[in-house]
Amino acid sequence: MSALSFAELCERVHARWPAVEAKRSDNGQPFLLVPATELVALVQWLRSDRELRFDALSDLTGYDLMKYPATPPSDAIAVVYVLFSYVQKHKLMLRVLAPRAACVVPSVSFLWPAALYFEREVWDLLGVHFDGHPTLLRIMTPQDWVGHPLRKDYIYPSEYHGVPHLREGQHFEHVPQREGDAVKAAPTAPAAPAKGAPPA
């Protein structure tokens, strides 16, 4: 058997899952837009179907669409799945849009244990809650960290546990300079110098 092209994959998916849309990104990269409610059933089938056999989850990541210049503008978080089959050697990208207000996507970690870490990372950095994940804890930042850093409206901390973030004399505007970007977050105030050693 040989690798299937994206069109052939689409055909097979559409026959069973009419709600799944085939889309292309602005530069022509094909992907499937999956409603969150159908995700689990779809990936289960993708993994077990004899012709498809997506036995590996190559990557699971996401990004915040808030400032992406799309029409119509959206403020959802896009969760991106890159599936790969070591048997058939084909690749497929899935995408689930999680609206900011209710940022919940079902977990796929019971199918691919690789997702255990990927989902923790996306939860930590983008704040997408994965329903059904056994230990959805922060993985990169400390457990008591505030906010999800890779969201586009993230405000940098001015201190952590009483230790200021910046050095004396440092002033940075922690907002990426994007063309035509209205500055949303106020620049972090210059940190006050700490008095002596912080409490042990």
């Binding site: 990104s25 990269q29 036995d55 990557d59 991106v80 070591y86 244990p113 990426p176």
Partner: protein
Amino acid sequence: MTIEATTPSGERMILNMGPHHPATHGVLRIVVESDGEVVANCTPDHGYLHRSIEKIGECVEWQMFVPYTDRIDYVCAMNANLAYCVGVEQLLRSDPGTAVQVPFRAECIRVLVAELNRISSHMIAVGAMAMDVGAVTPFLHSIAQREMVNDIFEKLCGQRLTYNYITVGGVAYDLTPGAPDEIASFLNTFEKEMVRFNKLITTNTIFRDRCASVAVVTSDEAIAWGLVGPNLRGSGVDWDLRRDEPYGIYGQLAVRVPFGERFAGRHGAVGDCYDRYIVRLLEVQESVRLCREVLKLLPPPAPKATDQTGGFQADVKKQLARPPKGEMYSRTEAPRGEMGYFIVSDGTKVPYRVRCRTGSFSAAGIFHHVMKGIFLADVVAVIGSFDVVVPEIDR
């Protein structure tokens, strides 16, 4: 993070390894719940080196991110540079208006430095693994070899560790006139050194028996847990992106792919620590061969840097100021396995999102699975055999 000791007798002991522990290769913390000498459960705790590199990717310009890729994986910084640059070039190629053509000489130099860096990275990996199980001398030998590669790179780009050498559209500097000869003579001495190294440790019965059948990962498990690179091949999966999804000029070089086949003999199993160790050594041999092949292909330098064959750097200023809007997922084979870049561009000179998928991250994900039921003393051997580099996990 807490672990419940759930045995009725309550006789389990909780042992904290790290974040500062000499055998964890950096700041990795593992909380081990042990039942006597046997690991009953373990919980890795990450993030002690989370430097927010992905957020930085959203703040700096395309070309300015290259130095940060060095710091994602400093043991093989060239490969990390290459992975990012290949990703950006693929993004640029998705629109015919901005496509870049990397000069052939630059492609050759890229493969050359990437393979040399693979050698030095694997030398650290095998040396450190031997050190973790108690043999310190091989590590000194492998460090000595690494210094040789560092010397070559230092002449090339002035840095010993964080090179910032491969750029979008080519490489930063041309090879120095004497470099091909130097590399060729290094490869010759290196091969001789490897014979000595193998006598010292690889064929050592104690070392082999120590690693045989420890932490066996079957090929199905390896795929499902997302292992990549030498860890995946150590489990017997015949897959290498350089051969199967070639990028750059790897398509013109016949890459031979070693994979695990129970090298430890009767007592071993496919996918044990010893297989992962041997696969790395075999890959080093393959890299030596690839370097020699590339040296034959290398075209003579041209006076103009942007020359299509003999140049070393295509002009990409215009393209990077207005890259196509959209996204790209590309992957390359780094020493620690597939390094995938998911790059989103909104058409400005600053990336919208840069995500780096690394081999160590998924290798760390399997720790708590493989460590159940092994001996406490083997924990360090397992960490060593997966060859994790902490900033690759934490980024």
